[in-house]
Amino acid sequence: MERLRALSLDIFRRLGIQGSFFCGQECFKANWKTHKVIHDLATPKQPLLNDPNINKDGTFNPFGAYKFTGSLRPVYPLSPKREVPAHILRPDYAEDGIPISESKKAGQPPQILGPEEQDKMRTVCRLVREVLDVAASHIRPGITTDEIDAIVHEATIERNAYPSPLNYRGFPKSVCTSVNEVICHGIPDKRKLQEGDIVNIDVSLYYDGFHGDLNETYPVGRVDDDLKKVMRTARECLDEAIKLCKPGALFRDLGKTIEPIARANGCAVVRTYCGHGINDLFHGAPTNVPHYAKNRAIGTMKPGMTFTIEPMINLGHNWDVAHWPDEWTAVTVDGKPSAQFEETLLITETGVEVLTAGKRRDDLYS
């Protein structure tokens, strides 16, 4: 990430271009021909070249050479990095992007939270739910994912919380917005949501020393039956997996319930990304909560453990994942849509408490 920052500072500062990100020298070199046009735009006025990667309004696709798997394209430039007021408690990675506390605790078993810590988790998860609901209320054709990012960021700092994704391992924004074939970790940009899209909004907050993590997939206007199916399937997968959670349940068994549901609906379960422990660490033990069957996941659920389940369900039979050159955006390999739902859970003495629970989404149930 050092190179990324270096490129961002030196060249772009000189030209007054804000928020231009390249994932590395090679990517930059590959896209120099296209990108150079932006430099020309930024300095003396020059006639626009007839480049398909540049839109009439000056926005552009920075990865012109990349073979996209679907029809979605990034719409750059990204907006400038959003500020978090100084009085808000920040996680250790806020400055340099490195979650050193996660490395320090690597290899340790999952934390068991005491009553006070559990209450703090309840609090931050309640706030996360509020912020997601606020963001979701703004979904409509024409709004850009960057505008959603602004809404999430503002709602977060209003609640005196820090948006967990911001600068986590260098992630540039405060929320992940994943449209259509994007499986997860989509970066908010200047693309306008269109009628017929689905969009997943993944919100995480850091408050009073603890993280909460929540996401839901929403339709933009009216969507077709396939998209309804993949959303409903993902929700059902999560609901059924939550029902298994109680002391003594094994993390490796969740996939046995999730995968048949996906399969029965002509969908596939993503394997590369898993649920994870969450508490004072954004991603902690258990580091892998797989959503697919036949896995060797380690760990037994115990009262006081907090973790997420977040199945990513792809339409069709391809569960594999490809990544855009920004090194974050994960997409389906065949361009078909993907839906996801996530909750943060607390194992209690008798069962499970869904800390991020919200109102039932009628559009997801018949």
């Binding site: 094994l250 991603h283 060797r296």
Partner: protein, 388 residues
Amino acid sequence: MSVEDDVPSLIEPSSILPAEGDAGTGGTVPLTIICGFLGAGKSTLVKRILTERHGYRIAVIMNEFGDTATINVSSPDDPGAQSEEFLELANGCLCCSIKDSGVAAIEKLMQKKGAFDHILLETTGLADPGPIASMFWQNEELAMGLGRDIHLDGVVCVVDAVFGRKQMEEDHAVDGIGESLRQIAGSDVILLNKVDLSSPEELEITEDMIRGINPVASVYRTVRGQIGLKSILGVDAYASRPFTTASLSQVETFACGGDHQDCGHNHSHGQTHYEMRGISSLQVDCPTLTSTQLARLDEWIRTVLWESHLPEGETTGSGLEILRCKGMFATEDGKTYILQGVRNLYEIAEVEGAAVSAAGVPDLGKVVLIGKGLEEPVRRSFQSLLTL
């Protein structure tokens, strides 16, 4: 960076010899981890594998630095000329991804350059192969079976016949277990190298020490790392999938207590308990299980492996830590199961029904544990779950 700038060219996988590990692996590429004592001859072995005319397309990865690894490829077309590439390991931006960045880099390289027949990962210095093996074994869950996915074939350790015993007795202990002992405990094939420089008595003592710590590994005596490739590659040491007859015979041998006629050694097996600086192996007999007992066995294994204590909460004196476990046992309904485990990652998987009748599996199974704190209470605890 050379890999990224090259125009990818189509390379046919070697058709001279059949790709190893094809049977029952769904066409994924086998990966072997090579570890070894300092000065034992690991590099000589690796160099030999790279340059010898064996007809395999083998990639050797040496992870010397933090964020890059060198990869040397031996090609059957021109064994003398090795191409050298640099693998740039991604920066760990894939949070919540269970695919390790190093593994992703290797698979990406195969996508560009064509599949290899085998991959060797040479570890540095006194690296403990356990966590690395665990990572590659877990990564198999992400395999697409496209011939560009990796599966863990096994761990090979090179031990110095001259200084090995001294190293085992004296090396620096991490968490109470010497690094060289961790390597032996975590290996599936052990090469006792430089035997020409040692005396028969010393060899006997060293080999007994090795087998005492790890009774399930194959041990070979070598000179200058010379050994047939088939003994170290394609061993399928982590197989839980339906066995081919070749792999099953190795397990069968193990299930019979390791009494193979052709090795000519006198090693003690059965219920003996050999301890070396706190690390030992424990072999327990496991009769035909009822389904209840199988469930309790799984519970026992996962408590011991995941939580490092016995199910009843009884602690053993020096702290329990399992480095490797292997077992095979049958259930009352005629099924056979294989237990495989490294560190706290394990699997109890059913073996195909057909293989059972073919191999003539004995009624009695065996479970072997290798690690620390394997004292009498552990054996008693295991046996108590069989008395239901």
